[in-house]
Amino acid sequence: MSAALPSVAIEGIAFWHTRLPGWATARAVIRGERDAPPTAEKRPTPSLLAPTERRRAPDTVALALEVASGACEAAGRSPSQLRAVFASTYGDLGISDYMCATLAGTPTLISPTKFHNSVHNAAAGYWSIGTSSHAPYTAISAYRHTFGNAVLEAATQVACEGQSVVCVAFDVEATGPLGTVAPSRGLLGVALVLAPPGSESHRALTLRVEQGSAANITPARSPAAALVADNALAPCLPFFEALADPATGNVVLALSDHSLLHAQVR
């Protein structure tokens, strides 16, 4: 049995990875039109944050705000008008490592700033503050199925509320002992602006929920796959491979251990 959502328009796309900094670069590498830049970027510097905040912001916040802003800009949408779905497999692994290490030694010395940046909705909170948006945001997680759930929730909001949604997913590098059980390397952030269908100039996304197991998931096939494979958000790549191809494409993402998201991009 499967259930489908009405089609939505993909108005904006953003992508940032340590080796593929920006959608134009990532798309060209995915299409085999160029090689990835030889050196890795450290992290993005989102213009939404003031210069002092840019330095202080945790990696998750810098990354999420960079791609969220990028997708809104590509869509020509004012960020303050959009609902937002933020998703991350692990949240800020560096801050979790700091919290656990400090709690094991000197718990009363926890930094209040690190604590409030440790919440899973920190990036979403900074986004709403930076864009002065009172629209609702959410912050979700679904382990290896995080990206599929993010796209589904965003498209469901578009369908139910008739409003545009910015969908943001990100994972950062693990540090310390936590990295042995929650492995993730580099920074990978992606964002989409999804909207009610309008002009013909945008690509349409149709989603269908169906039953199936991990064996049915579309594998990443492009030259970008090896570059992002060790980041926890790597399962998003096949979707962006479909976006990089102007032809109609079908991608199967995971929603849970037994359910799948079939995405068609036209």
Binding site: L103, A124, Q211
Partner: protein, 399 residues
């Protein structure tokens, strides 16, 4: 495409498990008899001087062997909640009715099982690796909770964990309602679980938001929060003959500060207006409000002003944090469950521990319990990162 209209859902089963009691009957008794679940903090190796809402006996109550992969305090509490009031049997019946793939799981938490990672860091191997018993990746992710709940209930559809701090397990009602409205599920298990852990106890301590004594919501001399732990679940269905109604909900963002509410309650007001609008209600039709009422200086001030401005004096409003402590990511479901108990039994809980209400409070905010038939209730959840959610519930016999 035009927006589809919010569709009211029935709550066909629910349960709650806090320091004040396990299950609906024990919770109702504690509320009725004004028996607090708060105790002196004895959690962890170096407990802070505060009071906590600790659920008794979790240490000696491991998960059934089949769920050993998910073993941790947070999932133990989740399991205790799932078997309270035979909630898991109610879900099994829904699974039979609709199919395991048509019952979604949308569950909230703030810290999930971070306590397991904290434990690992206290017991690291000499080479820096986790101790062997904690090398279970699933418990070191926020989705530990949603993934466990889905497996423990034998469900095979959508499963997602919502982590927006203190609004988490209120927002799950909205997300689940949208999934059902869009036809992606016929029913949904919503709820939330948060357990005591060093991150929240010492984290809120670093922000100087922890009270050294029992929390006193809306008291003129309130000094901060007591952290509690809790599990709560509700089953939402589209086509059911009985059960209280989820009448509506509203969500918003403060866009103000990561750890302080907007001083004029701009976001809270917006979430409230949206909740009333989606439910087709006005403030005059609200009998009971379960406030967020954390007992921090700012939250209670903003919330009291909002209630005094918008509601008639007959609306009965209170904070139940004096019974349970602030259960953070579980607060939404705990207070939704208390609101449903109030509607079902006509027991409106006052505000425990509070001696002298802050003058900013209007006549709506009550200290004493009252027995009164209530038809419609709101539950407020306002969290870190400025994430707000207001839920509206109605008695099942409402026309």
């Amino acid at each position: 495409m035009s927006a589809s209209k919010f569709r009211q859902l029935r709550v066909t089963a629910y349960t709650v498990c806090t320091a004040a009691g396990t299950g609906r009957a024990a919770t109702l008794n504690a509320l009725d008899e004004r028996r607090s679940g708060l105790t002196r903090n004895d959690f962890g190796p170096s407990p802070l001087a505060t009071w906590i809402g600790r659920v008794a006996g979790l240490e000696a109550d491991p998960l059934p062997a089949a769920w050993a992969e998910w073993e941790c305090r947070n999932n133990r509490l989740a399991w205790r909640g799932l078997v309270s009031d035979d909630f898991n049997d109610e879900v099994a019946a829904a699974r039979e009715r609709y199919g395991a793939e048509r019952v979604a799981v949308v569950i909230g938490t703030s810290t999930a099982s971070i306590g397991a990672s904290e434990d690992a860091y206290r017991r690291l191997e000499p080479d820096g690796r986790y101790p062997p018993d904690l090398r279970r990746p699933i418990v070191h992710t926020p989705h530990s909770l949603g993934n466990f709940v889905q497996h423990a209930l034998g469900l095979r559809g959508i499963a997602v964990t919502v982590a927006t701090a203190c609004s988490s397990s209120a927002k799950v009602f909205g997300q689940a309602e949208r999934l059902i409205r869009a036809g992606l599920a016929d029913a949904a298990v919503v709820g939330g679980v948060d357990t005591l852990c060093g991150s929240t106890l010492f984290g809120f301590n670093s922000l100087e938001l922890i009270a050294s004594e029992c929390c006193k919501p809306f008291d003129v001399a309130r000094h901060g929060i007591n952290i509690g732990e809790a599990a709560g679940f509700a089953l939402l269905e589209r086509d059911a003959a009985s059960g209280p109604w989820l009448l509506g909900y509203g969500e918003s963002s403060d866009a103000h500060h990561m750890s302080a509410p907007h001083p004029e309650g701009v976001g809270a007001r917006r979430a409230l207006q949206d909740a009333l609008e989606s439910a087709g209600l006005t403030p005059a039709s609200i009998d009971y409000i379960n406030l967020h009422g954390t007992a921090t200086l700012k939250n209670d001030e903003v919330e009291a002003r909002l209630v005094a401005d918008l509601f008639p004096s007959r609306t009965f409003a209170s904070s139940t944090k004096g019974w349970t402590g602030h259960t953070l990511g579980a607060a939404g479901i705990v207070e939704a469950a208390i609101s449903l108990l109030a509607l079902e039994h006509g027991v409106l809980p006052g505000t425990l521990n509070t001696e002298q209400l802050d003058p900013v409070c209007g006549p709506q905010i009550r200290r004493e319990n009252e027995r009164r038939r209530a038809q419609r209730a709101l539950s407020f959840s306002f969290g870190f990162g400025g994430s707000n959610c207001v839920l509206a519930f109605g008695r099942g016999d409402l026309q």
